[in-house]
Amino acid sequence: MKTRFLLMSATAVSAAAVLSLPAIGQSLDYNAMSGLFGEAVTAGATGAPQRSSDVPATMIIITRDDIERSPEFDIPGLLRHYAGVGHNRFSFGDSQVAIRGEASGYMPRLLVLVNGREVYLDSYGYTAWSTLPVQMEEIQQIEVVKGPQSALYGFNAVSGVVNIITRNPDFENWVTARANIGNGGYDDVAFTAGRSFGDRASVRFSYGNAGAEEFEPIASNTFAVSLADGDYSRETASLEGRFQITDNVRLIAEATTSEVQLQELTSIYYTTRSLYELHSYKIDVEADTDFGFWTFSGYRNETEIAYEFGPSSNELTTFRAQNLFKIGTNDTVRLTAEYREGTTISFPDPGNGGFGYETMAFSAMWNHRFSSAVDLTLAGRFDSVDWSRDGDPNPAFYIFTQEDYDVSFEEFSYNAAMVWRPQSGGAVRFSASQGVQAPSMFDIGFTLLSTTTPIPLAITGNPNMETSIVRAYEIAYDRALSPTVDMRAAIFTQETSDVRGTFGAFPDVLPPNAPLPVLLFNNRGDTQTTGAEISLMGDPDGGWHWGVNYTYQSVDDDLATFGLFTALDFESATPEHLVNAQIGWAGERFTADAFFNYVSATTSPLQPDFGTLTRFDLDAAIAASFRAGFRVNDHVNISLNAQNANFGSGEIANVNYQPASRTWLQLSTSF
């Protein structure tokens, strides 16, 4: 109690004295700004609004036009076409995305936010993308920041961040209704609307309902085969109100709900069927004052998940105060204080005591413009975390006592980048960063008694687990090669020490040191990824546009023995080569787009039955997707979409379910 009081007091004090970066992004008029500067704008790299050519990080910004022209029905599908993005569709609804690495099941290293609210499930430590309460038609832009970004976003932003920004009803009124119907039982309807009421209030609303038959399972994944009759369903809704309290103060309130059922691949390469029921509530107060742009925000995520192995019920509450201001003409500063509290019931085994953590964090960012050619950005964040458990795990099965869970850790993360715009054109970025991946609630407090194995086993989280530290270095170069062709290139290296890792098939602790053999969540070694990426994009005259990108990534693991002590094998499971290409044409009423993706061969871990870890070879694959659109009139569009058109009834592209060709007709109206 005393700790909590002190933490909250500290938050209040810092709030009285100092802003947060993602927050200003909610009030940016992206359309007006990008129209003014002739390029995308973002607040996703430093917390301060910036032109995309000025950001001190390698970013992808996916605009509303990009989304409308893609033959994809979800956000991970959109992302897979860009350089440095790894993607696996483990089932119809379970896609995972990685930045410069393996897109594994329950990918833990990528932080995902919607309007600055974390949708990353920090209970297990991954993003269930289908649960995002966002319809494609209400997205303003999707920002992907590559590399560790903990200094801005906190824990788990270690390979990158995806920030989804929705349309702002303060700046535009719209209504969209859309229906997709396709093969494989796919149907998807969505309604979105945004409207302002005078100068003082506006509302955004969205609703979506989708379903599909599941793909065919991989024959050798025994458990996936046993779950094969579970289809996909998704229903989400979101309501946001924006209120201008005074000329300079705005209040934004949002509530969302999601209910999703789907098959998934977990972090131990084991299949599960999951039912998600998620609710969130968020309030932001923004004040544009003579003393900076202040943001006070709070949100609460309530998560109920029924996994195949048991239920999980979690709550995350976050408060943040941030001030963003300029000093003089060349310095921009952001100061942030943040308090987080995560709690969960004892899971999946009930009765071992609920547990959770409290975090207090302080961060700062300073951007200095030395000249119109050179600027420097430095950002740092300090996190202090305290864990606790309110009951004793059953000592007949588990090795840790309640007191063992009273652990704390303190971590520092940073981002440093210099942007140089040489007279010869373009921009060169030099960046170094350190990110922190915190143990998840599963990592710390999971308790499960397994009786399906030949001998009873205790599977348990580990309060002694260390944070995983990621250090990254990058040199990037962006420039226009001609008035109609842009190039973006980067070379990077990223070292991860004390990789958060799950158990293998062999117990980590044996009797007499434990009442039962124990499979333990633990740190499993180190890994390093080095690579390069290059993108070329062209917008020649005549309504054409094209793009091609290539990513090379080489992984060097120093991990615990695969199979016995970990299910991880980044070195084999990360594709060495990724190539994406697209070409499109837009006429007065017709549009046509084609997308191609190449992924080189990999060998993926697989746990077809619990306790039997093996490896599975995946051949190189090419996917071809197409979209043809026709504008019937100013308000009605119709399109035919073919995702992975060459996959037929299924392509063995991962170890869970075989992505099949999906074709759908889309009818959409907008006003």
Binding site: A32, M33, F37, Q50, L324, T329
Partner: protein, 169 residues
């Protein structure tokens, strides 16, 4: 002494402006930028096109390109010709674009500031020399420079997000 030298230096700089002609694209950028000026309501903005005899043709061309109103982002921009020898036409204007040698005329700058009107020029020397509040360049990429001191003198302020995305001097 310092108080004497600064205006002289500014005057010298302003006396030799680059001969950058203002284009229709510049006007679009100016119009869009006006959408981020604080304490202005509605979406209609009047742009005074201040010219001298040498730049009268350029001014006529700009007025023609504005037509009945140029839609630029949040605002609709209409134009009005104002001869630098008679600035009475500034009344009611939201912004003034300074053409040709007018961009180096300290008396015009002072008059525009006194009327609390945002002065703008496509000649970056003008904003550098504190002859106008804003310098705008639309090609090859958009560049906006704001002179903070001059903005203060004209009582012009900008939305915080806008101020963070431009160059201030």
């Amino acid at each position: 002494m310092r108080n004497f030298l600064l205006p002289v230096a500014a005057g010298l700089l302003m006396a030799a402006p680059a001969a950058a002609e203002t284009t229709t694209r510049d006007l679009e950028v100016i119009g869009r930028a006006l959408g981020f000026v604080e304490n202005q309501s509605g979406s209609e903005r009047v742009l005074a096109i201040i010219h001298d005899a040498a730049s009268a043709g350029e001014a006529e061309a700009l007025l023609a390109s504005l037509g009945g109103g140029l839609r630029a982002g949040r605002v609709t921009l209409t134009g009005r010709l104002v001869n630098s020898a008679d600035l009475s036409g500034l009344d009611g204007a939201h912004a003034a674009v300074l053409l040709g040698a007018v961009a180096g005329d300290a008396s015009v700058a002072q008059a525009v500031n006194s009327a609390s009107i945002l002065s703008v020029s496509s000649d970056m020397g003008c904003v550098q020399a504190q002859g106008c509040v804003m310098g705008v360049q639309s090609a090859p990429s958009v560049r906006i420079v704001v002179n903070r001191a001059n903005a203060g003198a004209a009582s012009v302020s900008f939305a915080a997000a806008f101020a963070m995305m431009i160059e201030e001097i």
